[in-house]
Symmetry: C2
Subunit: 197 residues, 2 copies
Amino acid sequence: MSLVLDAATQDLLFREARTANTFTDEPVTDEQIQAIYDLIKFGPTAFNQSPLRITLVRSPEARERLVPLMAEGNQAKTASAPLVAILSTDNEFHAELPKLVPHAPGIAEAYFSARAVREQVASINATLQAGYFIIGIRAAGLAAGPMTGFDFPGVQKEFLDDDHTPLMIINIGKPGTDAAPFPRLPRLAFDEVVTTV
Amino acid sequence: MSLVLDAATQDLLFREARTANTFTDEPVTDEQIQAIYDLIKFGPTAFNQSPLRITLVRSPEARERLVPLMAEGNQAKTASAPLVAILSTDNEFHAELPKLVPHAPGIAEAYFSARAVREQVASINATLQAGYFIIGIRAAGLAAGPMTGFDFPGVQKEFLDDDHTPLMIINIGKPGTDAAPFPRLPRLAFDEVVTTV
């Protein structure tokens, strides 16, 4: 066994976990989301820049604004999920760097004075954090349904502002009946992905 | 307790895990990397597109070509890490889709015929997979040292090809003495990251 992680946890986080398309009615609480965040916030980012931002869509009114912005195939599941989270990047993340990297004053100015650079770097690092967040959802015994099929400018206009770019939207809850209607899809084999030089 | 994951595993994967800057001499085996990959390959990507590719730098000759392409502050640790992995995106990932999503023939042509679209989508999804890979390294009881401080065109030219874009380089091994020389950096609080609508 080359992994330290026990088999049940391997299953919980990766092997048995599936993207969910249906959910039970059981609510997802703020306490659960806080526990997930307080775990995954420790995942590494470049310069500890931590650009991920999360908008929890809780009110029926906000849900009604979001659903029509989803791709048609994502509307029913987004309408019925116990909780929907809009993940975005904070393109002004550099304002937090004096707090996040107190040992390196001036890096905001040295590296991140250009908005285009910030957008690119924030996208990469917030996406890493989105990966950690998906793992964290599973660590809470919940299922994630991540989606990029939505009207990005529409979601930005309705829910964010010019400094925040949508990244993905994740339905969250306990998986329902037939949550993953088809068998697990194949994955690329080790030799198809890994080469040695 | 809102998490299902036990406290020791929370520590292993997130709370106590640190980016390592020094490593012991203990080798990282192919078996360990295969076990990591065979775990994290199940992490979700859009359309199961799985664009992450991994180049293990094992030979001294390859290491010698890589080190000068690293930023100065990354050269010593990349020279001494037991194993170095170059993570890249396969911008021709769509060629694998008939195998990866057999229930959806034609999506390669429908969505991914444009190289610019493929590059953008591959970057996001390979970065998600890079997040899973970092978690997987920790799940093997190893430490990761992810870096984006390197000559991207130089690494592409020396180690990849026109169809593969470098994403990050990760030093991998057992953490050495003084592997994380400063105390854990602060993280943004829940209320700074999460809003509710």
